[in-house]
Symmetry: C2
Subunit: 153 residues, 2 copies
DNA sequence: GATAATACCTACCAAATTAATAGGAATTAT
DNA sequence: ATAATTCCTATTAATTTGGTAGGTATTATC
């Protein structure tokens, strides 16, 4: 039950872009990779998925890079994660676009649980937008400064 | 974000044992494997983990097998899944018995989300006991009968 | 118009994890 | 004694993940 690096890296990349979104300058893969300490080549693939999902807009050529495809408050973590990892579901048999029905589907009680797990995970992921996270980030920094002040002087 | 077969098979195995628990006869690996259509050899390993966690009691030798280690209402799905898959957490960095702290830990906002996801998953899993599932199973069967009755005669 | 910086695309590869097999020892009811 | 069972450890096969690689297309800048 672990998220893969695609989802984790992708979310961090999106946050990185979101932080630069005020200036409205595109952020390059090279820049993101450096900030986030990721492989450029791997990040490239991740960005392609995000682009395909419409979550980022890209401009090619020199000075090119990525900007958010929507406002930070309109991009949820759920969208990002699902764009990168596919539908989030703890088991195949309660996946919405599942390939084939399990033969046990009709009488298998465990599906009740898997459905509920699927739903709560997605609810949490959909609850947070990039804007929310940026706001939380500022709170974290405040706390940090406060702690420094206390222990420091 | 998928559960492994260990967890899924293990839960089904536990339900199987729970169904036989009234008679208080141990259920053998061979029998469970047959009912659930699983590899005996693989199930064997799963049962070892369940035993180690105290969720089943085993008796060796002819007529041996497994019985529940506690009352069905005292065994939660969460306990079973965690016994088989380890701690349930979407990322390593919010795992309770994590090996090493992430260098980003202090300022990484994504952890807020991962923690919440971790908690809701475990809450759902801990909410259901084997007894609850057996009860649900009976409900499913009733509905089935009812549906048959409607479409049948 | 040349150059450098960038995204885009597809294929491939290596490591890790998962799922399962296999062989045999120990125990116990009959 | 025998057959049925759990217990333990090692090995292997399959799948997924996490990346690397090579090359093309586009565009700002000089």
């Amino acid at each position: 039950m672990k998220l893969s690096t695609r989802g984790r890296y992708g979310l961090r990349a999106m946050l990185d872009i979101a932080r630069h979104t005020e200036k409205n300058e595109p952020v390059s893969i090279a820049a993101i990779a450096q900030h986030q300490d990721l492989s450029e080549r791997y990040l490239e693939q991740i960005m392609m998925s995000l682009k395909k999902a419409g979550l980022v807009y890209s401009s090619k050529g020199a000075k090119g890079g990525y900007t958010l495809g929507k406002k930070p408050e309109d991009i949820t973590v759920g969208e990002i994660i699902r764009a990168l990892e596919g539908e989030i579901s703890p088991v195949e048999c309660v996946s919405l676009q599942k390939s084939e029905e399990c033969i046990r589907a009709d009488f298998c009680v465990t599906r009740i649980i898997w459905r509920e797990v699927r739903d709560v995970i997605n609810q949490v992921l959909d609850k947070y937008s990039l804007a929310d996270l940026l706001k939380e980030e500022k709170n974290l920094q405040k706390e940090e400064n406060y702690a420094d002040g206390l222990s420091g002087s």
